[in-house]
């Protein structure tokens, strides 16, 4: 009994520094934010769900939530599909795979500040893209196209990473399965549906989680290109939170933060239900 306890506590020492730090810098403060979301920013009286009602009727929040949701719904499936197609093509390639993989990964290494500078040259009303394709009077960053510039920028940056992820998943599928199916007369499409897709199930959880994680990071580009108030189509939740923070609307910010985390939680639990937890040690 005692030796078991001693063993456990020594084992726990590996985790302790991390848990302590995470608690101090994230967890406990976040619990404090939950508490604040029910109180008044000045004075701190208990308000019940009033902050939530205010936030849910706030136009900026609703637009941003819609945009963020739309962004995630557009860019994640797009990224996953394109990267899977590329991974399949690369997988069957005999030579020159490495060169292509490096080239696809390179955008990941381009610092955001440099990306933003190039974007300004490419997507200005009189910019390089309009000039090259003879498009007149299209101000990319000032119209609904801003949203697609953002989607493009996300895919550009994360494509290589996901190609590598998928390729790892593909290499885990046994060749003999394909050969056996080939003997049975299965075509490419049938092989893909009955062997490849089920074989990638285990990879999916990580791939989606990482795609999701990186989808929040486009805010940096959006912010550096267009500042606090970009075109409405790329006004994201992060913009709202940033602006509330600057205006010291801490009650709204807290309620908004809690709402966002609830959505996140639901999303992850769903994901876990669909693909199962990958991390069982």
């Amino acid at each position: 009994m005692w030796s078991k306890l001693k063993k456990d506590s020594l084992d726990a020492l590996f985790l302790l520094p991390s848990i302590l730090g995470v608690s101090v810098f994230v967890l406990i403060p976040f619990i404090d934010v939950i508490r604040r979301s029910f109180t008044n920013a000045i004075g701190g009286q208990f308000l019940g769900i009033k902050n939530y009602q205010i936030v849910l009727q706030n136009e900026a929040f609703l637009i941003a939530a819609k945009n963020t949701f739309r962004f995630i719904c557009v860019c994640i499936p797009l990224l996953l599909t394109i990267s899977l197609i590329l991974a399949l093509l690369l997988q069957n390639m005999k030579k020159g795979k490495e060169l292509l993989k490096s080239a696809y990964l390179l955008p990941m290494a381009v610092p955001i500040a440099s990306v933003v500078f190039v974007w300004k040259i490419l997507f200005h009303k009189n910019g390089l893209v309009n000039g090259m394709f003879h498009i007149e009077d299209l101000n990319w960053m000032g119209t609904d196209y801003a949203f697609y510039v953002l989607v493009g920028s996300y895919i550009w940056k994360n494509l290589g990473y996901h190609v590598v992820l998928w390729m790892a998943g593909l290499s885990g599928i046994s060749r003999s399965l394909y050969e056996a199916a080939g003997v049975d007369g299965a075509g490419t499409l049938r092989k893909f549906i009955y062997i490849t897709l089920p074989g990638l199930r285990g990879t999916c959880f990580t791939v989606v989680i990482l795609a999701f994680l990186n989808s929040f990071k486009v805010f940096r580009e959006a912010y550096l290109v267009a500042g606090d108030y970009p075109h409405q189509s790329m006004y994201l939740l992060q913009h709202v939170f940033n602006n509330w923070f600057r205006e010291l609307s801490l009650d709204k910010l807290s309620a908004g933060a809690v709402l966002t985390s609830i959505f996140l939680l639901i999303f992850i639990i769903l994901l876990k239900k669909v693909w199962g937890m990958e991390g069982e040690g």
């Binding site: 590996f14 985790l15 520094p17 991390s18 730090g21 995470v22 101090v24 810098f25 994230v26 967890l27 403060p29 590329l86 093509l89 390639m93 020159g96 292509l100 490096s102 080239a103 990964l105 390179l106 955008p107 290494a109 381009v110 610092p111 500040a113 933003v116 500078f117 300004k120 040259i121 200005h124 009189n126 910019g127 390089l128 550009w156 590598v164 992820l165 998928w166 390729m167 790892a168 998943g169 290499s171 885990g172 285990g202 990879t203 994680l213 929040f216 940096r220 912010y223 550096l224 992060q238 939170f241 933060a257 966002t260 996140l264 939680l265 992850i268 876990k272 937890m277 990958e278 040690g281």
Partner: protein
């Protein structure tokens, strides 16, 4: 293994993929090529974007006149650039060192220890990892304020050190080590520290390298945290310096873009194999 010859379809496909790769890499080429151009040349190309005229921005694949003037000017005349460059290096180095000390043992703990509530806790880590910075920004700010860390580099470093992403990434590597290896070492009398440092870490080293490369790319690009936590602009990292340069000073902007890119490219190409292995291993379920 049967060896097949390249047929025409393969070649066409390869060329297509190569073209796509070239498009993806073209912004990098644009930056590098532009950094060797003279300010006059750049002004001519970029004028439409500055003066709002009727013409369009053009660009040349190679500089008409190859010059290193931009580099010389940046290296000699802009002390604030170096100051911020140094800030970035300092922040990244300290954060990564911190993550090595904190996240690696934690990942080991999650992967190899049998402790109650561990899985629940790991799930919590994943959720915390996915929270956008803005969700925890307020709580972070209040904590840092209480700890007196605001307006110092510590405000950036400490929260980043305790990021749960490297724990998530490394967990897979430690979990994949076959039990038999550890069991054998245990029978030989190896203690838990010995198992971790002498067996776990070397076997997971591609993962650790990958976590470091990814961490580097993340923290070389800090935007939100310094904006909120550092009022004193002399503390800012490089990411926030570049966007302040307008297109009028194109040469400086190009050159500094390339110089910011350089360390990233170095780290990236030096660590690419590890990075690939690391990314790959994080995806595969045994």
């Amino acid at each position: 293994m049967r060896k097949k010859k390249w047929n025409i379809n393969d070649i066409l496909l390869y060329l297509l993929l190569l073209l796509f790769a070239a498009i993806l890499c073209s912004p990098v080429y644009l930056l590098i090529s532009g950094s060797f151009m003279a300010q006059d040349e750049l002004s001519i190309y970029l004028r439409p974007a500055i003066t709002e005229g009727d013409t369009y921005v053009r660009f040349s694949l190679l500089p008409v006149l190859f010059t290193l003037r931009g580099y010389v000017e940046l290296l000699l005349d802009t002390p604030e650039f170096f100051h911020m460059f140094w800030n970035s290096i300092k922040l990244v180095t300290l954060i990564l060192l911190g993550q090595l000390c904190i996240a690696v043992p934690a990942a080991w703990g999650f992967a190899r220890m049998k402790l109650k509530g561990k899985d629940m806790l790991f799930f919590l880590y994943i959720i915390l990892m996915l929270m956008p910075f803005q969700v925890t920004m307020l709580s972070n700010y209040l904590t840092l304020n209480k700890l007196g860390m605001l307006d110092t580099h510590q405000a950036i470093i400490w929260p980043a050190v305790f990021s749960t992403f490297p724990v998530f990434l490394l967990h897979r590597f430690f979990a994949d080590i076959p039990n038999s290896i550890l069991e054998a070492a245990r029978i030989d009398g190896a203690g838990r520290m010995h198992l971790f440092i002498k067996i776990g870490c070397p076997l997971a080293s591609p993962g650790i390298m990958a976590a470091m490369v990814l961490g580097y790319l993340e923290y070389w690009n800090l935007v939100e945290q310094p904006l909120i936590f550092l009022k004193d602009k002399t503390l800012w990292p490089l990411t926030l310096y570049l966007p302040q340069i307008g297109l009028e000073n194109a040469q400086i902007a190009f050159v500094s873009s390339v110089i910011v890119l350089l360390p990233s490219a170095l780290v990236f190409f030096a660590g690419q194999d590890h990075l690939e292995q690391g990314i790959a291993a994080s995806a595969v379920k045994e």
